[in-house]
């Protein structure tokens, strides 16, 4: 530990041949099954790591490496276990012209609540939308009303209201683009972003 403190500046390390703490970088397969990439730069040297568990070390075992899943767990288990829950998006749909959820979406609301309760400090953005039936101003109002309704439903189920923001986007962002005046159930929705 003391060595780390004394040797931290790289210039000193080079000048006095003092040993820096060993370092390790490893690329992990993503939750979606795809593996990304990290470019490691040390001085003039650039290393691209873009395969699952591809790693680069400094120190006694300096150089490229490929770690096993078990080695990753041993070294990074505590950090990986503490990574926050992945952000998630839910969609709820409404009966035409109202802030009443469709029967199907009532079930989805319950599933969403279970997911929210698993999060220690959820932060929730509710965005209401409408289809293109009715006037613009009316749809702005209705979209916000839908978002506020979902917000109230969540709050009544014990999700802290101050953790929920609600906004209305009217008919501006249809999922399915239509001509004005078209009754499109998939556009009558509220999108809920949970973090």
């Amino acid at each position: 530990m003391r060595a780390v403190l004394v040797c931290a500046p790289v210039a000193l390390t080079v000048l006095f041949g003092c040993q820096s703490a060993p370092e390790l970088v490893v690329v992990l397969p993503g939750a979606d099954g795809r593996t990304g990439a990290v470019v490691v730069e040390r001085g003039a040297e650039r290393t691209l790591l873009d395969q699952p568990y591809a790693a680069s070390r400094t120190g006694p075992q300096a150089g490229p490496a490929r770690l096993t899943e078990q080695e990753v767990r041993q070294t990074f288990g505590d950090a990986l276990a503490t990574i926050p829950a992945r952000p998630a998006t839910f969609l709820l749909y409404f009966v035409t012209g109202t802030d009443e959820l469709t029967e199907e979406s009532k079930g989805e609301l319950r599933r969403m609540l279970e997911e929210l309760r698993r999060r220690p400090s959820p932060d929730i953005l509710v965005i209401g939308h409408t289809d293109r039936v009715g006037a613009d101003e009316q749809n702005d109002r209705l979209s916000l009303q839908r978002a506020e309704r979902v917000r109230a439903d969540l709050a009544s189920q014990g999700i802290p209201a101050d953790r929920i923001r609600a906004a209305g986007r009217g008919e501006r962002e249809p999922v399915v683009p239509t001509a004005d005046g078209v009754d499109e159930p998939r556009n009558r929705r509220v999108e809920i972003n949970v973090r």
Binding site: T13, E23, V27, L28, A37, V38, V39, T75, F76
Partner: protein, 145 residues
């Protein structure tokens, strides 16, 4: 005069919100935030700001979700500085620089890296990691156990 005070108050409120760049979601054991000269005990729901330093004790671990949905966590005996964080939620442009001086860090990159592959960098005492996405981990120093 009253107007000036009102405008000042609005600006202050906006500034306070603008400087929150993430939120602590998970805490285990002893975890602190060094902010300016003060040491704050970390708890879930607490905001993280640019220039904060996250510090975990020998039994500590912490997870943070940032504005662009970058997720980041530290294992025991770690120290991470949030050197720079900016994110435009409309264009998804941004920059996220942090530095790990010891311990273990796990990262899931967020929207800004998807938008621009040069947006996120993690520094260590001897190197710089350019994050092209998505999940990776970094250790500085020997394992704490």
């Amino acid at each position: 005069m009253r107007w000036f005070i009102a405008i000042g108050a609005v600006l202050l409120a906006a500034a306070a919100q603008a400087s929150d760049v993430g939120e602590i979601k998970t805490v285990r054991g002893a975890v602190h935030i060094e902010r300016g000269g003060t040491l704050l005990a970390a708890s879930p729901g607490m905001n993280v700001r640019q220039s904060d330093v996250l510090v975990t004790g020998a039994d500590g671990a912490v997870g943070v979700t940032f504005l662009d949905n970058s997720l980041l966590s530290l294992g025991p005996g770690s120290r991470l500085g949030i050197d720079h964080y900016s994110f435009d939620s409309t264009t998804h442009a941004g920059r996220f620089d942090s530095s790990l001086s010891k311990g273990t860090l796990a990262v899931v990159s967020g929207k800004m890296v998807k938008q621009s592959p040069d947006a996120m960098r993690v520094r260590t005492p001897t190197g710089v990691m350019g994050v092209r996405g998505t999940e990776f981990a970094v250790q500085v120093g020997e394992s704490g156990r």
